[in-house]
C-alpha cells in the first residue's frame, strides 16, 4: 500500500493558499501530519478523503487515482473528520449498524458481529444502547474511530482526533490507533507534537500549505543534535534574545522564561545543551520556514 501525493495545490476563494505544491509519499503504518492551526492539514486530509477537489496535482493510492475514482477510494477509506456530530437520539448500536449497512456489510448476522466487535474494540460495548447525545467527548471520538474502522479500510484518515480530550482519553485513543496502524495506512493530523512522537513511524511537518520536513520523527530530531541550546532568562530580556538569537520556543518556568535557541554552536556558557526532541524540531522547522519566506518576500 502506498499513497503518493504529487504537486497538490489548492487555493480558496478567499485567496488563502491552503496547499502549495504538496508532494508526499506515505506507506503503511502510522503517518503523522504535524502543523499549526491553519497550516492546511485539514484541507489535505479532506482532499485525500474525497471531500474536496484540488486545483492541481494528483493523489494516487497504489494504482487508484484518488481524485477521479472516488467511489473506489471510498470503499477503502475510513475517515474521522476533525469535527463531527452524531444524531443525538440514536443509540450507538443503531448508528453503527446503519453505517455498516451503508458500507455494504451484509448479511445482518455478519453485520451484528462486526458492530459488536467494533464496539467492544472501542470500549463502547457497554454503552451500546445509550443515545449518542449523552456521550462524552472521548466516547464520541472513540465512536468515530469505530465508524472509521468499519468495512476493513485500507486507508484511515483521522483529523486532529485528540483535540479537546483529557490526557487519559488521549492515552486510550492512542492505544486504539497504534493497534490498527500496522498493515494499513493511517494518516493522523495533529498540532500536538507528542501525538506524533508517541505514535508515528513517519511524519511530515506542514506549514502555510507547504511540506517543510518529512521523515522519521526520531531520526529528524537526532539531526538537531548540538544545535539547540536552552537558557533561563527574565521576561524583560526576551526581546533582546529575540534580536540576537533564533529563539525557537519559550516556556514559563517558575515565573521565569526557559528559552530554546537554534544555533550552530553553543552561544555562550550561560546556554546549556538540549537533547533535541520532536518539539524542538517542530518549532525550529517552522521558525526557519517563516524566516525563509520573509526573506523571499
Amino acid at each position: 500500500m502506498k499513497l503518493t501525493i504529487q504537486n497538490l495545490s489548492k487555493r480558496y476563494r478567499s485567496g488563502v493558499q491552503a496547499l502549495n505544491d504538496v508532494s508526499l509519499t506515505i506507506s503503511t503504518g502510522m503517518f503523522g501530519l504535524l502543523g499549526p492551526n491553519g497550516a492546511g492539514k485539514s484541507t489535505l486530509m479532506r482532499t485525500i478523503a474525497t471531500l474536496q477537489e484540488a486545483d492541481t496535482g494528483t493523489i494516487v493510492l497504489d494504482d487508484l487515482d484518488v481524485l477521479k475514482e472516488k467511489d473506489e477510494v471510498r470503499k477503502l477509506l475510513g475517515y474521522l473528520p476533525q469535527e463531527f456530530g452524531l444524531y443525538p437520539k440514536v443509540t450507538a448500536w443503531r448508528m453503527l449498524d446503519h453505517f455498516a449497512t451503508l458500507k455494504g456489510i451484509a448479511p445482518a448476522r455478519r453485520r451484528r458481529e462486526v458492530v459488536s466487535q467494533l464496539l467492544e474494540k472501542c470500549n463502547l460495548y457497554e454503552v451500546r444502547n445509550q443515545q449518542l447525545g449523552g456521550f462524552s467527548g472521548g466516547m464520541k471520538q472513540r465512536f468515530g474511530i469505530a465508524l472509521a474502522l468499519l468495512g476493513e479500510p485500507k486507508l484511515i484518515i483521522v483529523d486532529e482526533p485528540t483535540a479537546g480530550l483529557d490526557p487519559e482519553e488521549r492515552v486510550r485513543f492512542h492505544n486504539l490507533l497504534s493497534e490498527i496502524g500496522e498493515n494499513i495506512i493511517v494518516i493522523l493530523s495533529t498540532h500536538i507534537v507528542t501525538d506524533v512522537s508517541d505514535l508515528c513511524g513517519q511524519m511530515a511537518i506542514i506549514h502555510l500549505g507547504e511540506v517543510i520536513l518529512m521523515g522519521e520523527p526520531l531520526g529528524l530530531a537526532a539531526d538537531l543534535q548540538r544545535l539547540v541550546w536552552k537558557k533561563v532568562i527574565t521576561k524583560d530580556e526576551l526581546p533582546q534574545y529575540y534580536e540576537e538569537y533564533q529563539v525557537i520556543s519559550t516556556r514559563l518556568l517558575a515565573g521565569r522564561l526557559l528559552i530554546h535557541v537554534y544555533n550552530q554552536q553553543q552561544p555562550d556558557a550561560s546556554f546549556d545543551e538540549v537533547i533535541p526532541d520532536l518539539q524542538d524540531l517542530y518549532f525550529s522547522a517552522i521558525k526557519q520556514h517563516e524566516a525563509a519566506r520573509l526573506q523571499s518576500a
Binding site: 479532506r46 471531500l51 477537489e53 470503499k75 456530530g85 446503519h98 455494504g104 466487535q117 474494540k121 476493513e152
Partner: protein, 1193 residues
C-alpha cells in the same frame, strides 16, 4: 441604570441587523410588492386584473383600500417576523454564545428587552416599506388617473400604526418568547402555522352572519375584525373615511396586544439566565474502560459497494421515520386536521343550512383545506431532510461512504413523497371520520382514492421533487424555503398577470370538478396528459438535482457544476435525453390540443375579443332585424363522444315597418357549421368566425310583415382538451345545452364589456349598464332575448339509449330508432326564445297537482330532497294560481345537471337545477334555525313561470324587479305559509347582511329598487326585504291583488314590454294613504335606518299587567348612488315589540315614530324579557343587532 444598558444592547443588535443582507432583501421585497400591487390596482397594467378591494369607483389610494391593502401585505410578513424575532432570541443558543452574555454584568431584563426592542425596530423599518411602496406607487405617472384620488398622508400612516404595529408586537412577542424559552427555532415556525390556522378558522367562521363578531375577535391578524367593521361601507365611505379604531376592531387589537404582553411577562419570568437544562451527558465512562482489551481482533468485513437499490428502502424508511416522529410535524398535521373539521362545519351552507357531507364535497373540502398544510410540510421538511446529516455534523461521515451519490438524494425525495402519502391517508381518514360524525355513512372510497391518490398525490409528489431540487441547488436551507415561498406566490398570482397556460406552470393542469352525475368525466384526459408532462419534467428536474447534490465540502458553484458534469454519466445522459424528448413530445401534444384543436385564450384575449365585437359591429345595433316566431329543432346528443348535432328551422318575420335587406346572425365560436341559410341565401355574404358574426344580404329585401325561413345545421364536437374553461355543456352524463348556442339574430349587446375600468383599458367609452326605464325603443326588446318575442317551440331530441333527453314543452312522443332514444317536445302556450336541452341517465320521480304533471329528473342517489321539491312545486302552484293567475303549462319539471355550474334556471315548464344546489341540502326539520332551501328554491323557480314567462319585461332599468324580486316575494310567501313567520326572520337576516355587503362591493352605482340594473344584491336581497315589509305594511292579500291585476294587464303582451314603474303604479293604488311614504323609501330611493332601543324597563301596574317603558332612537338616512348618506326627518310607522323570555311576542304594533328620540309606553299581560323597535328587522338597518334590548324590572 437599566435604560442606557437596554439601549446599548438594542443598538448593537440593530446595527447588526442593518449589516445583514436579509434586512435589505425583506425591505426591497415588500417595497416592490406594495409598489407593484398598488399600481396594478390603479390600472397600470392593462392585462393585469388583481381583483383587489372594490375597484370601479373606489380609488386605489382611498383610506379604506390602503388600510386593507397595507394590512394584507403585512400578513405575508409573518415569516419575516418569525425569522427576525426568532433569530434575535435564538442566536445566542445557535452560536453557543449565551454563556458569554449570561456571565456579563447585565440583567435578564436588559438582555431580553434589548433584544426584543432591537427586533421590533428592525421589523418596523422593514414593514414601513409597504407604506412607502404604496406611496411611491401613488406618484407613479403611468396609471389610470380616474383610480387615484387626492393623496392623504394619514391614509398611509394610520394602517401602519393600527394594523401593522400591533401585529408585529403581538406576533413578535409570541415568537420571541417561544424562541427564548424553547432555545430552538422550530417552535416559532410551528406557532406561525398555528397562528395561520386561527386566521383560517376566523375566515371560515366569518362566512356565517352569526359568527362574524367571534371571527373578528379570534383572528390574530385583525383582518376579520377590520372586515366586520367595514363590511357595509359604501363607495363614498370607502373613499373618504379613515378606518376608525372602534368596535370589534378595537377589541381585537386590545385582546391580542394583551396576549402579547402576557407572553412577554411570562417569558421574562420563565427565562433562565443560565445554562440550559441539565447536562445532557448522562453516560459516564467507567474507569475500567481505560484498559483496553487488545485481544479483540479487528473485524474482517471488507466494505463493498453494496446493492444501492437494496439500501434504498431502508434509507427511505429512516428519513420517513425521523420526519413523522418530529413533534413539529405532528403539530402541523394536527392543525391541518383541526382546520378540516372547523371549516367543514361552516362551509357549503346556504342561509345557514348545511348540505349532506357527500364524499365528493368532503374530499374537495378536506383536500383543499389541508393543501396548505401539505405545502408547509413539503417546504419545511424538504429542507430538514436535505440538511439532516449536515446539521447533525455528520455530513463528512456520510459523504465518504461507498454509496452512489444518487442514493441519499433519492431516498430523501422518496421519503418526502411517502410523507405525502401518509398525510393524504390522514386526510381520507379525517374525511371519513367527519362523514361518520355527521351521521352520514355512504363513504365512497373510490372517490377518495381517485381524488386523493390518483390526482392530489401526484401533484404533491411533483412538488416534492421541486422542493428537494430547490433545496439541493440553492444549498441554503432558509434561502431554499424563501425560494419556495416565492414560487408559491408566483404560481398564485401569475394568472392575474395574464400567464394562464398550464404548460409553463409546474405542476398545474386544467381545473377539474368531480360531479356525482358525471364522475371525473372528461377532465380525466387532460389530467393524465398534464401529469405525464410534469412527471417527465420532474424526472429531468430530479436528474439535475441529483447532479447538483452536494457531496463533500466544495460548495463553490463552479466546482459543483464541474462535478455535476463528471457525474453526468452516459446512462444519465441517455435517460435525460429520453426524458427531454418525451417532455417535448407530450408538451407538443398538449399544445396541439389546447392551442390548435382548441383555442387558447387568456382572460385578456377574451376581453379584446368582446371589445372587437363591439367596435366592429355596434354600428348594426339599431338596424332593423327580423324576429323569430317559431323554432323547430332536431337535436342529436351523442354523450359518449361529447358531440351534439343541432338542425333546425326558424320562422323569421319582419315586425318592423321598414324593409330589411341585411340579416346578421350570431353563432358561438368553435362550432362546425354544416348549413346556415336564410330563405334562398345559401351562404352568408360575410363570415367573421372569431366573432361568430355572419352577415346575409337578402336577394330581395324583406318587406314589413314578410316572413322567411332560417335553416341551420350545426355540429358541436369537443375535440381534444382545452387549457381552461373545459366545456361542460357536452359531457358523458349530464349534457346541459342552452339555446344561447343556437343562431341568434342581430347585434347582441349582451357580450359587451360591462365594467367601465375594463372598457377604458380597451379604448371603449363607459356605457350605461341598462337603458333608461322610459326608453321606449329599448322596451321593444324583452330582457331575455332580443331576437324574438313569443314563439312556438317544437323539438325532437335524441340521445343514447341509457339516457333521457329533455327539452321544454309537453312530451308528444317517445320512441327508439337505430339504437337511439328519441323524445319529441312541443310547447302548449307561447314561450320565450329561451330553452335548453338536457340529457343524462336520470331516475324520475312523478307526481301530480290537479292536471299538472310533476316530474323530477334526478341522479340516482340524490333522493334526499325530492319530497321537499315536490312539495315546493305543489305549494307554489297552489299559492300562485290562487293569488296570481292560472299556470300556463301542463307539466312542471325539475331536471338535475352536474355541479359545474351552481344555479337553477327556469325555462318554460322546465327547471334545470344544479346538483350542487338543493339536491344534497340537508335540512334538519328538528332545527328551527334551518331553512328549507330546496323548498324555497323550487318555489322561486316555479314563481318565474309567472314572473318571467307570463310577465315579460322590457330590457330597461328595473327589469329584474319584475322577474327576480317578484319571484323572491312569491317564494317568501309560499315559505311563510308553509313554515310560519318565525322562520322568516332568520332568512331575512341573511338577506339583509347580503344586501349591505353587496352595496359595499358595488362598482358603479347603487340604484333604487325600481330602477335596478340587474344588480343581484338589489333585486334579490333588497327585493326580499322590501317586498316582505311591504306585504306586512299593506297586507298580503292587498298586495297580491295588485300583482294579480298587473298580471292580467300585461301577461303575454307584445312589445313594448312592461316596466317596473307600471307595477309600482298598481302597488301605489293598493297602498293606503298612511303608507304611501314607504313606496318612496322602498322603491324609489335608497333609504336606510339606524334604529335602536336606548332603554327599556317595566313595572307591574297592579292589575296583573306590566307597563313597559321604552326609549327608542330612530335615524332615517337617504343614500345617493355612491353611498353618501343624508339624514332626513323621521315620521314613520315602525313596529314596536315586546317579547317574553321564550321569544314570543307579547306585543307587536306599529307606532308612529317622530323625531330622533321617542318614548313609548305599552302594556303587556306577562313579564316582558326583551323589547325594542323594529324587532323583526323589516326595515333596512345597518346595525340590526341593537334594535331589541333586555327589559329591566
Amino acid at each position: 441604570m437599566d435604560r442606557p444598558m437596554i439601549w446599548a444592547i438594542a443598538a448593537f443588535e440593530i446595527r447588526n441587523s442593518f449589516r445583514r443582507l436579509s434586512t435589505y432583501v425583506y425591505f426591497a421585497l415588500f417595497f416592490t410588492m406594495a409598489f407593484l400591487m398598488f399600481i396594478a390596482a390603479a390600472g397600470a397594467f392593462p392585462s393585469v386584473n388583481l381583483g383587489l378591494g372594490s375597484g370601479g369607483k373606489v380609488m386605489a389610494n382611498s383610506p379604506f383600500l390602503l388600510h386593507t391593502f397595507i394590512s394584507a401585505l403585512s400578513y405575508y410578513g409573518l415569516l419575516v417576523i418569525a425569522a427576525v424575532m426568532g433569530h434575535r432570541a435564538y442566536q445566542d443558543f445557535l452560536h453557543n454564545t449565551y454563556p458569554l452574555f449570561f456571565t456579563s454584568p447585565i440583567t435578564k431584563f436588559q438582555y431580553l428587552a434589548g433584544r426584543f426592542v432591537a427586533a421590533n425596530v428592525t421589523l418596523l423599518v422593514v414593514f414601513s416599506s409597504i407604506c412607502l411602496g404604496c406611496l411611491a406607487g401613488s406618484w407613479w405617472p403611468f396609471v389610470d388617473e380616474t383610480l387615484i384620488g387626492p393623496n392623504q398622508l394619514v391614509s398611509y400612516i394610520r394602517p401602519f400604526f393600527v394594523s401593522v404595529l400591533p401585529n408585529v408586537l403581538f406576533i413578535g412577542a409570541l415568537f420571541f418568547g417561544l424562541a427564548a424559552l424553547g432555545r430552538r427555532i422550530m417552535p416559532v415556525y410551528v406557532s406561525a402555522v398555528i397562528l395561520f390556522v386561527s386566521y383560517l378558522i376566523a375566515a371560515s367562521l366569518a362566512q356565517d352572519v352569526e359568527n362574524k363578531f367571534v371571527a373578528g375577535l379570534i383572528d390574530p391578524f385583525g383582518n376579520y375584525a377590520l372586515k366586520h367593521l367595514t363590511q357595509y361601507w359604501t363607495i363614498a365611505e370607502q373613499n373618504t373615511l379613515l378606518v376608525p379604531l372602534t368596535g370589534v376592531y378595537l377589541l381585537n387589537r386590545v385582546l391580542w396586544l394583551g396576549v402579547g404582553a402576557t407572553i412577554l411577562v411570562f417569558t421574562y419570568y420563565r427565562f433562565r439566565f443560565a445554562q440550559g437544562g441539565e447536562d445532557t451527558r448522562q453516560t459516564t465512562d467507567s474507569e475500567e474502560n481505560a484498559i483496553k482489551s487488545t485481544d479483540i481482533e479487528l473485524p474482517t468485513a471488507p466494505s463493498v459497494r453494496s446493492n444501492a437499490l437494496r439500501l434504498l428502502p431502508r434509507l427511505i424508511w429512516l428519513e420517513f421515520r425521523s420526519t413523522v416522529k418530529s413533534i413539529a410535524f405532528l403539530l402541523i398535521a394536527l392543525c391541518g386536521v383541526v382546520f378540516i373539521f372547523v371549516s367543514a362545519q361552516s362551509t357549503e351552507k346556504m342561509y345557514g343550512t348545511a348540505t349532506y357531507p357527500v364524499t365528493s364535497l368532503v374530499v374537495e373540502l378536506a383536500g383543499g383545506t389541508f393543501g396548505l398544510f401539505m405545502l408547509i410540510i413539503v417546504t419545511v421538511y424538504s429542507g430538514q431532510m436535505v440538511w439532516r446529516e449536515r446539521e447533525a455534523g455528520m455530513g463528512q461521515l456520510c459523504d465518504v461512504l461507498p454509496v452512489p451519490t444518487w442514493l441519499p438524494f433519492a431516498s430523501k425525495l422518496l421519503a418526502l413523497m411517502l410523507v405525502q402519502t401518509l398525510l393524504l391517508t390522514l386526510v381520507m381518514l379525517t374525511g371519513i371520520f367527519f362523514q361518520a360524525q355527521q351521521g352520514y355513512f355512504h363513504f365512497e372510497l373510490g372517490v377518495y382514492l381517485q381524488d386523493l391518490f390518483g390526482i392530489k398525490l401526484i401533484d404533491y409528489c411533483l412538488l416534492c421533487v421541486l422542493a428537494v431540487v430547490v433545496q439541493t441547488v440553492v444549498n441554503h436551507k432558509y434561502l431554499g424555503h424563501f425560494v419556495m415561498v416565492l414560487y408559491y406566490l408566483g404560481s398564485t398570482f401569475m394568472y392575474r398577470f395574464g400567464f394562464e397556460h398550464h404548460l409553463y406552470h409546474f405542476p398545474s393542469y386544467p381545473a377539474y370538478t368531480y360531479s356525482d352525475m358525471n364522475g371525473f368525466g372528461h377532465f380525466v384526459q387532460p389530467l393524465v396528459w398534464f401529469d405525464l408532462y410534469w412527471a417527465t419534467f420532474a424526472v429531468l428536474l430530479a436528474i439535475g438535482g441529483n447532479l447538483m447534490w452536494v457531496r463533500g465540502l466544495d460548495i463553490r458553484i463552479t466546482r459543483r457544476l464541474s462535478s455535476a458534469l463528471d457525474r453526468f454519466s452516459w446512462r444519465l445522459r441517455t435517460t435525460a435525453a429520453i426524458g427531454l424528448t418525451a417532455f417535448a413530445l407530450i408538451g407538443g401534444f398538449i399544445f396541439y390540443n389546447t392551442n390548435i384543436l382548441n383555442e387558447y385564450r387568456t382572460r385578456f384575449d377574451s376581453e379584446v375579443r368582446s371589445a372587437n365585437y363591439e367596435k366592429n359591429y355596434k354600428q348594426y345595433e339599431k338596424s332593423p332585424q327580423p324576429r323569430i316566431t317559431s323554432v323547430r329543432a332536431e337535436v342529436d346528443v351523442f354523450p359518449d363522444e361529447r358531440r351534439l348535432r343541432a338542425r333546425g328551422t326558424y320562422d323569421i318575420l319582419n315586425k318592423t315597418d321598414e324593409p330589411i335587406s341585411t340579416v346578421f346572425v350570431n353563432l358561438p365560436t368553435a362550432v362546425n357549421v354544416h348549413q346556415l341559410t336564410i330563405g334562398s341565401v345559401k351562404e352568408p355574404n360575410a363570415v367573421d368566425e372569431r366573432a361568430g358574426f355572419y352577415t346575409f344580404k337578402l336577394l330581395q329585401p324583406m318587406d314589413p310583415g314578410a316572413a322567411l325561413v332560417l335553416e341551420f345545421d350545426l355540429e358541436f364536437w369537443r375535440l381534444g382538451f382545452t387549457n381552461s374553461n373545459s366545456d361542460t355543456r357536452l359531457v358523458y352524463n349530464g349534457t346541459f345545452f342552452h339555446s344561447g348556442n343556437l343562431p341568434h339574430i342581430g347585434y347582441s349587446s349582451a357580450g359587451e364589456l360591462a365594467d367601465d375600468t375594463t372598457r377604458r383599458k380597451h379604448g371603449l367609452q363607459p356605457k350605461a349598464r341598462m337603458a333608461d326605464v322610459n326608453d321606449i325603443a329599448a322596451r321593444q326588446n324583452n330582457c331575455i332575448t332580443q331576437d324574438a318575442d313569443w314563439i312556438t317551440f317544437e323539438a325532437t331530441v335524441s340521445t343514447s339509449p341509457d339516457q333521457i333527453a329533455i327539452a321544454p314543452g309537453s312530451l308528444v312522443k317517445e320512441w327508439t330508432e337505430d339504437g337511439r332514444r328519441y323524445f319529441s317536445y312541443k310547447s302548449d302556450s307561447p314561450v320565450l326564445n329561451f330553452f335548453s336541452f338536457l340529457s343524462a341517465r336520470y331516475e324520475v320521480r312523478r307526481d301530480r297537482w290537479n292536471d299538472v304533471d310533476i316530474e323530477i329528473y334526478y341522479h340516482k342517489g340524490h333522493e334526499y330532497n325530492l319530497d321537499r321539491m315536490v312539495k315546493g312545486i305543489k305549494r307554489s302552484l297552489d299559492y300562485f294560481t290562487t293569488n296570481f293567475s292560472p299556470y300556463q303549462h301542463r307539466q312542471a319539471r325539475i331536471v338535475e345537471f352536474p355541479r359545474y355550474e351552481r344555479f337553477a334556471q327556469s325555462f318554460p315548464n322546465t327547471i334545470p337545477y344544479s346538483e350542487g344546489v338543493g339536491f344534497i341540502a340537508r335540512v334538519d326539520p328538528q332545527d328551527d334555525k334551518d331553512i328549507d332551501y330546496p323548498f324555497y328554491g323550487t318555489a322561486h323557480e316555479i314563481a318565474h313561470q309567472w314572473w318571467g314567462h307570463q310577465v315579460v319585461v322590457g330590457n330597461v332599468q328595473g327589469a329584474t324587479m319584475l322577474s327576480e324580486t317578484l319571484a323572491q316575494y312569491s317564494a317568501l310567501m309560499v315559505m311563510k305559509k308553509e313554515y310560519g313567520e318565525e322562520k322568516m326572520k332568520r332568512f331575512l337576516r341573511y338577506e339583509l347582511d347580503r344586501y349591505l355587503m353587496g352595496r359595499a362591493k358595488e362598482r358603479k352605482k347603487e340604484m333604487p329598487l325600481v330602477l335596478v340594473e340587474n344588480q343581484p344584491y338589489i333585486h334579490y336581497q333588497k327585493g326580499s326585504l322590501v317586498m316582505y315589509a311591504l306585504q306586512d305594511y299593506i297586507g298580503e292579500a292587498n298586495l297580491n291583488q295588485a300583482l294579480s291585476d298587473f298580471l292580467e294587464r300585461v301577461a303575454f303582451q307584445e312589445p313594448p314590454y312592461t316596466i317596473s314603474l307600471e307595477l309600482l303604479e298598481h302597488i301605489r293604488k293598493a297602498t293606503p294613504a298612511d303608507y304611501q311614504y314607504v313606496l318612496k323609501d322602498m322603491f324609489e330611493t335608497i333609504t336606510l335606518f339606524d334604529n335602536r332601543t336606548v332603554s327599556a324597563s317595566f313595572a307591574e301596574t297592579g292589575t296583573g299587567e306590566y307597563e313597559v317603558h321604552l326609549q327608542v332612537a330612530s335615524k332615517k338616512l337617504r343614500a345617493d348612488e355612491l353611498g353618501v348618506e343624508k339624514e332626513i326627518a323621521v315620521n314613520d310607522l315602525i313596529d314596536i315589540g315586546v317579547l317574553d323570555k321564550d321569544g314570543n311576542f307579547l306585543y307587536l304594533k306599529k307606532h308612529r315614530i317622530q323625531g330622533n328620540e321617542f318614548d313609548i309606553v305599552v302594556s303587556v299581560p306577562q313579564i316582558p324579557a326583551k323589547a325594542g323597535i323594529d324587532p323583526l328587522n323589516k326595515l333596512i338597518d345597518r346595525k340590526p343587532g341593537d334594535n331589541v334590548i333586555r327589559v329591566d324590572g
